[in-house]
């Protein structure tokens, strides 16, 4: 099962984590990742941010990433939830849950989904800081993290 959600509403990571098992007795491992708005980025004090996205393409990109994860690892389910719009300091932004029979597959799939999401899904952060608002620059470290999942020297664009 693949569950993709893009929403402005806040979510409760605890509730989603508890629901990720879903009573499926074939699942032996659930790995969940939650990303939060932190107070500090690129050496400026951040009090809130705006997350822009490309409606339609966003959902399509996340679906594609989930399908690729399912091809690489035996997974019972994958959930990806990403918020858009205005977010305040300390709020959760993104949640990924991968469920599998064994922990290694669930761990790898969750890391893969996050690495690909950060470099292939059309989201852009605009941070509101004490010095004004600015668009966050892409990071080379995110590109490097995604590159480790290359297979046979090939990488999809």
């Amino acid at each position: 099962m693949i569950d993709i959600r893009v929403q402005t509403a806040r979510f409760d990571p605890g509730q989603l984590t508890a629901a990720a098992h879903g009573g499926d007795l074939a699942i032996g491992a659930v790995v969940c990742f939650t990303g939060y708005v932190r107070d500090f980025n690129q050496q400026k004090q951040v009090h809130s941010m705006f997350l822009e996205h490309f409606p339609g393409m966003t959902e399509k990109s996340l679906e594609k990433i989930a399908l690729e994860a399912r091809q690489r690892w035996p997974l019972q389910s994958i959930q990806i939830l990403h918020r858009v719009g205005q977010l305040e300091q300390g709020e959760p932004i993104v949640f990924v849950a991968t469920a599998s029979a064994h922990r290694e597959d669930a761990f790898n799939a969750c890391a893969f989904v996050m690495d690909y999401l950060k470099t292939r899904a059309p989201f852009w952060k605009k941070e509101h800081t004490t010095d004004g608002s600015y668009w966050v620059d892409g990071r080379a470290s995110d590109q490097a993290a995604a590159a480790r999942w290359k297979q046979n020297g090939k990488e999809s664009p």
Binding site: H53, F54, H82, A121, P122, W124, D137, P157
Partner: protein, 82 residues
Amino acid sequence: MINILFFARYRDVLQQDQLQLNWQEQWQTLGDIRDHLVRQGSPWDVLEDPGIMCARNQDMCRLDTAVHKNDEIAFFPTVTGG
């Protein structure tokens, strides 16, 4: 026609989120259209950003991806979600 979308910083700099252009037969790739726009001068030089990313019909692609009449393409800065 070709429909071109801009997001985030590019949209702010260009002060528009989309543009329609009459199709030109010499266009083969998204890079050709990017170059056409850059040749219009400032503020279109924002598209010379080395971190530029692009999409064709809502699929992530590269500047050397082939483009066709009536496609919807998009140019945007390096993504920063998650």
